[in-house]
């Protein structure tokens, strides 16, 4: 892993306006970067803006403000054909819903080859087909599956087809939007292990979105915790897990079941009430670096307290 930043997101905002007055701040001033070859986890409860962040990065939504830099180039706003191809083939997305993410009228072959076809990555049909078979093999499916339609597959298989589709363009980075949350628990490991192997073998960078810290801990190098459209804590996975600072992170951690029945029985959930900060005009939160590489979104006073606590541990 190098310090080369593959993706940089600066002060990204995405507001949805429904009607004239009400504005939904789905993503509000989010900044982070992802290093080449690492797995970056983005966690938070349902509706906190994770999907919106991912989709804005990959240009499905137009950002309200802020900038996105991919491979050293700004990719928010209008792009030339060439630049836009660099995004459409080098950044790919894996979707949450294995049923909705594959076109039911297309065969597996057509689905997997689509990205390659649109971006004209292969000179002829044969080489594209050859590559498609490699992709199928990579995700643990067989050649015979190529002529099938999505409805004949199980959820885990479909998700792997989705992964094959994302990989055929040989992307540098993959945004995986809760790729396992719609799957049966018994299948989750299958897909997660596959992603993990691919990351190691292909040197992929993954932006991994999840609502569950335990998965992210297993999977990510660094983690950003999101709440209400903002990043509240950002650090290496182990730091977030072992020394959480923000109350919201603590609350999320307390929701993880412990794989030991005797301890699990006594586990208490910590509830997070955003009102507890008591922020007002004179007491506004902002990002502070509490340890090297460990950022947290608190007010000045809270930050001082947290720092003392952390030092005491």
């Amino acid at each position: 892993m190098t310090d080369d930043k593959i993706l940089e997101v600066n002060h990204l905002c995405k507001y949805f306006s429904s009607g004239k007055k009400s504005v939904m701040k789905a993503v509000d001033d989010v900044s982070f970067f992802v290093k080449r070859g690492e797995t970056f986890g983005l966690v938070g409860e349902s509706g906190c803006g994770k999907t919106t962040t991912g989709r804005t990065i990959i240009r499905l939504y137009k950002p309200t403000s802020g900038e996105v830099i991919f491979n050293g180039k700004r990719i928010d706003g209008r792009l030339s054909k060439e630049d836009s191809r660099a995004v459409t083939s080098k950044m790919q997305m894996i979707f949450q819903d294995p049923i909705a993410s594959l076109n039911p009228r297309m065969t597996v072959e057509e689905i997997i080859c689509e990205g390659a076809k649109i971006n004209k990555l292969f000179p002829d049909k044969e080489s594209m087909r050859k590559r498609m078979y490699e992709m199928l093999d990579l995700v643990g499916l067989t050649r015979e599956h190529a002529t099938r339609y999505p409805h004949e597959f199980s959820g885990g298989q479909r998700q792997r087809i989705g992964i094959a589709r994302a990989l055929i363009t040989q992307p540098d980075m993959i945004i995986a939007d809760e790729p396992i949350s719609a799957l049966d628990v018994s299948i989750q490991a299958q897909v997660l292990n596959l992603l993990n192997d691919l990351r190691k073998d292909l040197g992929l960078t993954i932006l991994f979105i999840a609502h569950d810290l335990s998965v992210v801990k297993y999977f990510s190098d660094r983690v950003a915790v999101m709440n209400r459209g903002r990043i509240v804590e950002l650090s290496s996975a182990s730091q977030v897990y072992d020394h959480p600072v923000h109350p919201y992170t603590k609350s999320l951690l307390s929701a993880i079941p412990i794989p030991n029945p005797r301890v699990e029985k006594q586990r208490k959930r910590v509830d997070y009430d955003p009102g507890m900060h008591g922020y007002d005009a004179s007491n506004q939160p902002s990002m502070y670096e509490i340890e090297p590489g460990h950022f947290v979104f608190l007010s000045e006073k809270e930050f001082a307290d947290a720092k003392k606590q952390l030092a005491a541990q």
Partner: protein, 400 residues
């Protein structure tokens, strides 16, 4: 409780819970299962899923398999096919044409070979005749049913009710008019199939054009959404507000009654339903994840519309079009019936019905046969459409 107190309370509660959590974590550390307790089952082999044994099933094959099971729709499809074939070929292969008049053979009842021997469609009609002139009918009288007296100004006039073969009576022994003739002696069999042909042409053409306009309009409106959609929907509302009958009458008055003006009348507002349906489909599917996936890979609008979104609407389009054919035919009949019909010698089902109703009591066959054909068409198209809908969208079974 003041705001400050509230905040303090929330903080305190959190701190208590947090302490418990740390306690638990400590517990977990002492009680944690060690890695030696677990072993890996398979690490080194690469696992592949098994291939499927059965045939790949495409969307259309799947729909066909389901459609086949619906007996009523199969029968309906067969009836439609027969009617269409008759409409195409029956006028070609009969000796007469739809406009050939034999005034001497006016209003003959149906006469069909073989069936006539059984007493059905034998060209006979029951007539009430003065007994004194019975002889002039000669051979034409097949059977005298009863005799009775009719009183005219108190005087009894002997009458007979007799079954009279009209063909012999009018010297048309050599002819077989399967469905009889109208008052100008034109062959109803030929006129009816010719009329069916015209009704079908009007129905199918208007529906095809409506589909095309509806799909394009709805697709643009639904795909781009926002202001474009707003504008396009307002236009539809204005168009939809114009009363159909008024517009139909104006069109027929200006363009003259003909196939073309009929199709035009049916098109002006006919596509609106289709475009609404397509628009709804676009709104529903344009944010589907597979459409987004394709978009992240740089797919063009054209590809998204035709490859990803529109195919979802093919089932509903076919179904809706099938339902639209009988209603177009019905509109045509209805306009013809009101006297806004196709120009004179040319028949259509509606024209035939309108002509026949004047003599409904004396020669019911003139109304009966067109009515049967139009009813069969309506029923069959609707059953066929139902079958298609169930086949394309099994979840919608039994709705409506």
């Amino acid at each position: 409780m003041s705001k400050k107190q509230k905040i303090e309370a929330a903080k305190k509660a959190f701190a208590e819970q947090e302490a418990l959590r740390l306690q638990n974590l400590e517990n977990a550390k002492t009680e944690r299962l060690s890695e030696d307790d677990c072993t890996f089952v398979q690490m080194d082999e690469k696992l592949h899923d098994q291939k499927f044994e059965h045939e790949p099933i495409s969307f259309y094959k799947d729909a066909w398999l389901r459609f086949k099971q619906n007996k009523a729709s199969i029968v309906a499809a067969a009836i439609i096919l027969v009617i269409v074939l008759m409409a195409i070929f029956a006028p070609v292969f009969s000796g007469t044409s739809y406009r050939e008049q034999h005034t001497e053979f006016g209003v003959l009842p149906p006469r069909i070979p073989y069936l006539e021997n059984l007493g059905i469609a034998d060209g006979c009609r029951t007539m009430e005749i003065q007994k004194s002139v019975l002889d002039t009918y000669g051979d034409a009288v097949v059977e005298v049913i009863r005799e009775y007296n009719q009183y005219y100004r108190g005087k009894p006039i002997p009458m007979v009710e007799a079954k009279v073969n009209q063909y012999i009576l009018k010297g048309a022994d050599d002819y077989y008019f399967f469905f009889g003739t109208d008052n100008l002696g034109r062959d109803l069999w030929v006129r009816l199939w010719r009329g069916t042909r015209i009704s079908l042409i009007i129905g199918v053409c208007s529906v095809l054009i409506n589909c095309f306009i509806g799909v394009v309009y709805g697709a643009v409106s639904g795909y781009y959404g926002g202001k474009v959609d707003m504008l396009m929907q307002r236009i539809i509302e204005i168009l939809g507000g114009v009363p159909f009958l008024v517009m139909a009458i104006l069109f027929v008055m200006f363009l003259g009654a003909g196939i073309r003006s009929f199709i035009l009348v049916l098109i002006i507002t006919g596509w609106i339903g289709m475009s609404r349906m397509i628009r709804a489909q676009f709104f529903r599917y344009k944010d589907y994840e597979y459409v987004l996936a394709s978009r992240t890979m740089g797919a063009s609008d054209r590809r998204l519309i035709f490859r990803h979104i529109l195919p979802n609407a093919i089932g509903p389009i076919i179904t809706q079009a099938t339902f639209a054919v009988p209603s177009a035919i019905f509109s045509e009949s209805f306009l013809s019936y009101l006297g806004l019909g196709i120009q004179a010698p040319e028949p259509s089902i509606g024209v035939l019905l309108a002509e026949g109703q004047g003599s409904l009591t004396t020669s019911p066959h003139l109304t009966l046969f067109p009515a049967i054909v139009v009813s069969l068409l309506m029923l069959s198209f609707n059953l066929f459409g139902n079958g298609l809908r169930d086949a394309f969208d099994p979840r919608a079974r039994g709705s409506e």
